[in-house]
């Protein structure tokens, strides 16, 4: 990777203050995205993927959620230190986000048109106000771009009148309305059935390709990122445990957790599917000392329970946070996950 990164998340810590304590959800997250790069962020539900991305856009529900440390640099500027007027310039135009569930991401009591026009209105460069007619026209064009039929009628509809696939496309249209440099797509289409999900993903690929937009694709499925990303970050319980160029990660992964995820991916070539990784993600109220994966890790060592492993280069461009790989040691260690056929 060369040049200046578009987005740089440095050592991000986020906690949720709840009744009875603080949930330490993000525990030092580091992610880099370069212009035009396609990045995958993979992890189980609850790993903190969405929280990380909401932090990037500074839309965490405060004061319940609190950013306790770190920097988020976009084009070299720290988003966390921005005043509202600066943020306004970043949101939508710099970074846009497609939320996980299109049903929840659309306001139920406003029409598509009302929501689109608010987005379109502020998607313009500062200093120019669009007329009502222009707003409407741009809304219609944007809806057409995501292959929605009859956009004029859609503008007058409420979200509940639309199918899940249509809502998803509308969310994509709104996110792309301002031509962002970076698009964050949070599990796009997961709430839809598989064929529609596939259509949505392909539409997204097309639009991103055409505009050379950088994208962070959040998903819990390694299959989805494999075909469409340049680099993959694997997240576990609020930590990035491994990141590597996609092809490299698929050919050889280092972290026992990643290896477990890989084993869980169904393969056409046979070999079956593992039972998954035994156990569940730790509670964030009192996370395990040291490596957060240690309670589930089959290769756990003494040091893992006391000290937190830092991300370090295991091979060029391939980082892993695991004590199995001391600096410079390129030895690959394969974790044996139970693989049963069928499943």
């Amino acid at each position: 990777m060369s040049g200046h990164p578009l987005l740089e998340i440095k050592d991000l810590y986020v906690q949720f203050n709840v009744y009875g304590g603080a949930l330490k959800v993000l525990d030092g997250v580091n992610i880099e995205v370069h212009p035009g790069e396609k990045v995958g962020l993979v992890g189980e539900t609850g790993a903190g993927k969405t929280t990380t991305m909401k932090a990037v856009l500074h839309v965490l529900p405060e004061p319940a959620a609190q950013i306790t440390g770190g920097e988020i640099l976009f084009d070299g500027q720290d988003i966390l230190k921005m005043v509202p007027s600066q943020l306004k310039q970043i949101r939508g135009k710099g970074i846009a986000m497609i939320f996980q569930d299109p049903t929840l991401a659309l306001n139920p009591v406003f029409t598509v048109g009302e929501q689109m026009s608010a987005v379109v209105q502020y998607s313009m460069e500062a200093g120019r106000n669009l007329t009502k007619r222009e707003v409407r026209e741009r809304s219609i064009t944007t809806l057409k771009e995501v292959s929605l039929a009859d956009p004029e009628r859609l503008l007058g509809n409420y979200p509940i009148q639309l199918s899940g696939g249509m809502r998803q496309r509308i969310c994509i249209a709104m996110a792309l309305a301002a031509r962002p440099k970076l698009l964050i797509a949070d599990e796009p289409g997961t709430s839809l059935d598989v064929t529609i999900q596939d259509q949505v993903l392909r539409l997204l690929d097309e639009l991103v390709e055409k505009r050379n937009t950088a994208i962070i694709l959040i998903t819990h499925s390694l299959g989805v990122v494999r075909e469409r990303t340049d680099r993959v970050y694997v997240m576990y319980a609020g930590n990035i445990v491994e990141n590597a160029p996609t092809t490299q990660l698929y050919s050889r992964s280092f972290h026992p957790y990643t290896q477990g995820l890989m084993a869980a991916v169904p393969k056409l070539t046979g070999g079956g599917v593992s039972d998954g990784i035994p156990g569940r993600m730790p509670a964030y109220l009192n996370p395990p000392q040291g490596c957060r994966f240690s309670p589930r890790c089959p290769r756990v060592m003494e040091i893992c329970r006391g000290e937190k492993p830092m991300l370090r280069e295991a091979s060029p461009g391939h980082q892993v946070a695991c004590f199995l790989y001391p600096r410079g040691n390129e030895l690959e260690i394969n974790t044996k996950w139970n693989v049963s056929s069928g499943g």
């Binding site: 949101r91 939508g92 135009k93 406003f110 608010a118 998607s123 509940i160």
Partner: protein, 342 residues
């Protein structure tokens, strides 16, 4: 079209409710021990007068037939003669209703605006001191009976501080403006008398605030709860993330969905307020329906009692239709599902 359907359905339901209510009222007016005819003519009247009265009141017919006669005359506006005032009840009601309406209108306004404002303030400053103050205030507003507020206000602002008048609709040395709407504040302005208007507003302040306290508090609590709940919703995050300015997110995209539960609850609060008006009109010597009603109740003036309950039931039904309409306007889900059920 959809909306019309929604409205018609709601309207028919209200007619059914009013019909049921009139049955209930009729039953109540007949469970009283003793002979209604005897009560109507007085205890000194000779027996033949009572018999004539029984005939006149259809008391010799079966109960359903009696009810039918009663309902028929009620629908034509004949609610009988008040034993207390010896005048047609409907005339009495017509005379006292505007005073109550005025009180209720102002109370409703204070409730809605105050409740929503306090709730919004609280939600925007969640867990800060403003929020805590509003929450304690709202809690006290809910557990304190309206009549206690009425009396405490009278004591503090009326007697101790001497800021506000404690009885009636206007000061005794002023003459009422000609009756147009019956609402003192409106009539005084129509007559071009701002001094009377100010005086009327001063008289309205304490009773209407006392009346509004419970609903205002409830409204503030619900608004706060819904709003802080909605603040965590993805669509708010999405709207912020897409660069819509904070002001517009809060006052447009957050406010509208958050108002829906508040407005629905407001219907119930107004019901409670109509009941509490009974006590406040007594405290503030407010010449309205409720004070008339209490006097009728203490004198067992059945025709007047029935009429008062019926008129307040009717008022409440109208309020509820309005509330449902507003909710229907605010919430497309309700409008659209009303049609889908068909």
């Amino acid at each position: 079209m959809r909306f019309l359907y929604f409205f018609v359905r709601r309207f028919l339901h209200s007619i059914f409710v009013l019909l049921g209510l009139s049955v209930v009222i009729y039953v109540i007016s007949r469970i009283v021990p003793g002979d209604p005819a005897r009560m109507a003519v007085g205890y000194q009247a000779p027996q033949w007068v009572v018999n004539n009265m029984r005939e006149y009141m259809h008391l010799n017919d079966t109960i359903p037939v009696q009810f039918f006669y009663w309902l028929r005359s009620a629908l034509s506006g004949d609610l009988g003669i008040s034993l207390l005032t010896r005048r047609p009840v409907i005339d009495d009601i017509r005379q006292v209703f505007p005073a109550t309406l005025e009180l209720a209108l102002y109370a409703g306004l204070i409730m809605a605006i105050g409740g929503i404002m306090l709730g919004t303030l609280s939600a925007h400053h969640k867990d800060k001191w403003v929020d805590n103050v509003v929450r304690v205030f709202a809690y006290m507003g809910i557990v304190t009976p309206a009549f206690v507020f009425g009396i405490v206000f009278t004591l503090v602002f009326g007697f101790w501080l001497n800021w506000l008048p404690t009885i009636g609709r206007i000061s005794p040395d002023l003459t009422s403006p000609p009756v147009v709407t019956g609402l003192m504040t409106v009539d005084s302005l129509l007559a071009g008398k701002p001094l009377i208007f100010i005086d009327a507003v001063k008289h309205l302040l304490m009773p209407s605030i006392a009346l509004a306290m419970a609903g205002l508090s409830q409204g503030a609590r619900i608004t706060r709860a819904t709003m802080s709940d909605n603040l965590g919703k993805d669509y708010i995050a999405a709207e912020r993330a897409l660069g819509i300015p904070e002001r517009q997110v809060l006052w447009k995209f957050l406010l509208k969905p958050s108002l829906i539960p508040t407005v629905s609850i407001l219907g119930l609060d107004i019901a409670a307020a109509i009941g509490n008006a009974f006590l406040l009109e007594l405290i503030f010597s407010w010449p309205g329906v409720s004070r008339y009603g209490v006097r009728a109740m203490l004198a067992k003036d059945l025709n007047a009692i029935s009429a008062v309950v019926l008129i307040l039931g009717l008022a409440f039904v109208v309020v509820n239709i309005c509330v449902d309409l507003v909710v229907g306007i605010l919430d497309p889900r309700i409008r659209l599902s009303a049609q889908r059920n068909e």
